[in-house]
Structures are given as C-alpha cells and as structure tokens.
C-alpha cells in the first residue's frame, strides 16, 4: 500500500475525488416488480447491489410470528464474483456476513413502523453483484429505497456512508483501496437529522478526530438522502402521471 498515494498533497484521492466528495450515486426502484413487493438497484461507485423486499407477508414458521409487530429478516448474498478476485467460498454463514445481517436488522428495526404490521414478516434480500469498499453504507441505501418502493411505512429515510480517516483528514465515502489502508467508520443517518441509527467502528479512531469524521459523514449521508429522494420522486411523478392519464 505504501507505493500508492492515498491522499496527494494537492488534496486528491486515488480516484480523483477530493476529501469531501461522494462517489457516483445512481439508483432505480421497482426493478423487479414480479419477484418482490419492492425492489431497487443501486450503484454507488463500483458497488452494485440488488435489493428485494418481500412483504409484509405471512411468516414462514410459527417462530417468526410476533403478535405485536412484524418480524424483520435480512438475507445478504455476497456473490463469489463480487470482488476483484473470485472467492472460493460462497459467503453464506460467514461470520462477517452474519454480523452485517444482524446490524442491518438492528438498524431498520428502528426505522420501519413494525407495530402497524402485526403477525407478519418483512423479508429483505440483498444481492451484492460487485463491491468496492463501504459496502455497509450502500446496503443501507439499497434497502431504504426498496422499502419505500414496497410501500412499507417508515419514520424516516436511513442513508449510509463510510468515512475513513487518513492521518488527520477525513475521507468521505471510501473505496476498497482506501478502506484497506486506513481506519474507517460507517454511519447510518436518520433522514435530515443528526441522529444515527448505525455507528459501526471496526478500527481504532483517535477520539479527537471522531467529530470531524462524523460531521462530514452526516453531511454526505444527507446528500445521499436527497439523491434517493430525487429518484423516488421522479418515479412517483411518473406513476401519478400514468394514473391521471387513465
């Protein structure tokens, strides 16, 4: 890693971004109308993710039935070809993947109004087609889009982003090269507020730098929220136009 210049003196990163710039963010919703109740396809930089939301539906087993609220389940399928080099194992039941799933469930349990769907199950299925760092944030964004598409009631959008810390400079929305070279923090931000529904710190971060890292992360997440909102509104306008022309 030493030969690569993560952050040049001119203030440019490996892929030409500045410290506070997001990666290309493109999304579309309702991509799989027959296979699911809500679906999205998200490209955040080189992360490519398909998300399917099925439900609220009848739970598969009795144990998944909660008389007071809906049961949330997240299944992550990280494909073997998602990284630069093909991995030998399918990532099923890998500790890391299970951990991702649990933290996603915890994040969205608080965002979805589960209490208005008693005795049902909401099944979220994520397929990672390609990954290039900051995957957790992209997963959150993809799931938010698909949930809104499914018409499931939520308190707010959740937008996710990963911020790295290079020496003293926070770097917004890191890619895999940067992620491997420095410590990073993943945020799940609630709407346009400064509330966090997820704060994932897997590496050591100097405490006095954490504030600036969080600040740029929240600002970036707000920007992502706006981008998702734009996409949803574009879609909604199209639908309403269709409906009114009938």
């Amino acid at each position: 890693m030493s030969r690569l210049e993560i952050y040049s003196p001119e203030g440019l990163r490996l892929d030409g971004r500045r410290w506070n710039e997001l990666r290309r963010f493109e999304s579309s919703i309702n991509t799989h109308p027959h296979a699911s109740d809500g679906s999205s396809y998200l490209e955040q930089g080189n992360n490519k993710i398909i998300t399917l939301v099925k439900g609220p539906k009848e739970p598969n087993t009795r144990s998944q039935l909660d008389p007071n609220k809906a049961t949330l389940r997240v299944t992550t399928n990280i494909t073997q070809f998602s990284k630069f080099e093909r991995s030998k194992s399918s990532h099923k039941n890998e500790r890391r993947v299970l951990e991702i799933q649990t933290s996603l469930v915890r994040t969205f349990e608080k965002a979805i109004m589960l209490h208005i769907y008693p005795r049902t199950m909401i099944d979220i299925e994520v397929h990672v087609l390609q990954q290039d760092g900051g995957i957790m944030g992209s997963l959150i964004n993809g799931i938010t889009l698909a949930l809104v598409d499914a018409g499931i009631a939520m308190w707010e959008y959740i937008s996710g982003v990963t911020v790295g810390l290079y020496d003293t400079t926070p770097l917004l929305d890191v890619n895999s090269l940067e992620e491997n070279a420095m410590s990073s923090v993943t945020l799940g931000v609630v709407g346009k507020s400064e509330k966090l529904s997820l704060l994932l710190v897997e590496d050591k971060i100097p405490l006095d730098r954490l504030e600036s890292v969080l600040a740029i992360g929240i600002a970036g997440a707000h920007r992502i929220r706006d981008l998702m909102d734009q996409e949803l509104r574009k879609h909604a306008k199209k639908r309403v136009k269709h409906a009114s022309s009938n």
Binding site: G55, E58, R119, G151, W155, R233
Partner: protein, 378 residues
C-alpha cells in the same frame, strides 16, 4: 457534534461549499434551506400549507407527492390517517405516495403496497393450508385470510348441518393449491380477512386461467364478473387476482336483467333456452331449495369440462395477454377496457407477440385513445 459541512453539487461534482458551525437548531435549519435550493422543483411545504389554510383547493393538492419523513402540515387540526404519523403537533408522511384529504382526515395513499382487504370485497384466492375447521387462503394481502368450514356451501344444501365427517373430509372440498373466489365477510383486529363463499357466484374455480395484476389497477365495483365476447367470462378480484374462464350457464344467467345477479343462477338456468319469454317472473324468486339443488358435489369438482375446446383455450390466452398488456401500461382494468384492448389485439394474429413490449405499449395507447375519441376518458 457541532460542525456540519454542506456538500453542494456544482458542475456535476461535489464540492465543499461552506462549513457551518451549528451551535443551535436554528443553524441546522439554515443549512437545510441550502439543500432545498439544490433539490428539484417540488411543491414546497410552505405553499401547500397556505393552500390547506384556505380550505379546499383540491386540484393542486391532490397530486402532492410526499416521501417518508416529509412534513405534510404543522396544522394540528387534521386527523391523521394511514401513511402518516404525528410528532410534536406536526404531521409527517410515513410512505411515498399522494396526499389525500377527505374532510379533516389526512392520509397518504402509497404508490405501491399490498392489497388490504375490506368487508364485501370480491376476491380470488388460493388455498395454502387446511386447518382445524378452516382453510387458510392466500389473497395477496399481508396475511392469509381464513375461510371457515361454516362459511362455505357444502354439498347437500345450505340447511345441512356440519358434521364431524365434514371436518374430516375438508380436503375433498378444497385442498392446497385450489383456487376459489369468495367475498370478504369480516375483518379481524389485525387487518386479516375472514371469507365466505355462501353464494353460487363464489366457490371453486375451474375451466380457466389465473393471472395476477397489481391490486391498485382493479377498482371496487358492484359487479366483478363480466361476460366477454368469445364465450369467455372474467372474474376481476379486487385483490388483483384475475380468473378467465369459459362462460358457464350460470354466467349467462347472471347477465340477464333483474334478479339474475344475486346468486339466482339456478332459477334462470332453465330459461336459457327461451331467454325472451317469462323471464322476469321466474328470476325474482330465489329459493333456498334451488340453492340446495345446485350445491351438489359438482361445485367442488377438480375436473375441467370435457368440451373445453382448443379455440376457447386460445381465446382465454389472448385475453390473458391483453390483461397483462393493460397491467404493463398501468391502465385500470375494467370490462370495457379489456374488450376494447381485445378488439385492438386482433391486429396481431400471434398471441405470443401480444406481450412484447412495443405491442403492449401500442395496445395501451389504443385503449386510451379510443376512450378519448368516444369522449369518456376520465
């Protein structure tokens, strides 16, 4: 935390515009306004509120699109309905959809979502489970509906007592995978439905083909069974499940004027030969004895009619593809539109080609144009 960096989009890239130190909430709101300027030209909150104060300026408000977490109104006078939530005297949206205001009730109608049953809905469902004195039916809602053994017509007539042997042979009436049409009898506390089939127009479905469309495309109406040209009958379930079948004698009877539409099929059955005479006298008296005669084992038969001809099957598939085309164009599905799209589809001899994207679009356009020409477009 105190520092917030607003990321502003300029010339296609993201640049750091200003670093605002937010000691107070006020400062945060100001950065919010910055973002609003970047956002596209949606109906902003302030203007919609002034409208609501004025009262009923519906034409503009009816298309107010909101997304989760968006402030709809600060006016506490509104009652909050589905798709909204209330926080500190303010009403927010919880789904992406269109704001609807009925009197003082404020709700958001989601753009998509599962079918939610209402009492009296005519639905089509599939049996998924045979349980204790009840069947579980998938009607495309959030939960399975229940069909009690006591809510079906059993062979032998309506007045027959349900015995233990009936409980034991429930699978001979309806088993897993069977399709039936039914009416929503009542709703449970949690929103799931209880069904009944106590009318001759309900019951097991045979001689046809099942299609599924989004439930939003089917509007609740007085009648959901329609006879179509080509000897086909369509049952448009409110839940978006559609059944296309060969027109039966009951269906023909149903189409006849007064009295014929309320399960009185059996009385008219004898009249089919001479439809012109003596109709009104007979069709008005729906007797229980007639119902008994009709409720034979035949209504739970799994066999298709032996005379289900190839041409009927072809017509059914044509109708099925026509309905798929209407659903693709997101056009509300009604009898008139199915017929008009069916007529338009005659230009394509190959039925399989009807579900090619361009063809579906042109069929949809044909239907809409046809309605505009006739001047009955909504």
């Amino acid at each position: 935390m105190s520092a917030v960096i607003t990321v502003v989009k300029k010339n296609g890239g993201f640049q750091n515009a200003n670093m605002v130190l937010n000691k107070s909430i006020q400062g945060f709101v100001s950065s919010d306004e910055d973002e609003d300027n970047i956002l596209d030209n949606d109906i902003d909150i302030s203007s919609s509120e002034s409208d609501s104060e004025n009262g009923t300026s519906k034409d503009r408000l009816s298309f107010q699109i909101v997304t989760p977490g968006e402030l709809i109104t600060e006016d506490p006078i509104w009652m909050r309905g589905h798709g909204t939530y209330f926080l500190n005297e303010m009403t927010y949206s919880s789904v992406a959809g269109v704001v609807s205001r009925v009197n003082r009730l404020l709700s958001v109608i989601p753009l998509r979502g599962r079918y939610s049953p209402e009492t009296g809905d005519h639905v089509i469902g599939r049996i998924v489970e045979v349980g204790n004195k009840r069947w579980k039916v998938d009607i495309g809602a959030k939960q399975y509906a229940v069909l009690m053994l006591g809510s079906v017509n059993l062979p032998g007539g309506i007045l027959r007592r349900k015995s233990e042997s009936d409980e034991l042979q429930m699978r001979t009436f309806l088993k897993e995978g069977d399709l039936l049409n039914a009416e929503v009898q009542s709703l449970f506390q949690d929103g799931s439905a209880s069904l009944h089939t106590r009318s001759l127009k309900y019951g097991k479905l045979r001689n046809g083909l099942f299609i599924q469309v989004p439930s939003s495309l089917i509007v609740r109406a007085k009648n959901h069974t329609h006879n179509l040209p080509g000897n086909i009958t369509v049952v448009l379930g409110v839940n978006g499940y559609i059944w296309l079948r060969k027109t039966s004698q009951m269906d023909i009877a149903k189409d006849l004027p007064p009295g014929g539409s309320t399960g009185a099929g059996s009385t008219i059955k004898s009249n089919i030969g001479n439809q012109n005479g003596g109709l009104s006298a007979n069709s008005t008296n729906v007797s229980i004895t007639r119902l008994e005669e009709e409720s034979s084992w035949q209504i739970y038969s799994d066999e298709n009619d032996p005379d289900l001809s190839n041409s009927i099957r072809i017509t059914i598939t044509r109708y099925a593809n026509v309905i798929k085309a209407l659903a693709y164009c997101e056009i509300g599905i009604t009898q008139e539109r199915i017929v008009s799209a069916y007529e338009a589809s005659m230009a394509y001899p190959n039925i399989g080609s009807l579900i090619e994207r361009e063809v579906m679009e042109s069929l949809g356009a044909d239907v809409i144009n046809g309605e505009k020409m006739r001047g009955n477009a909504v």
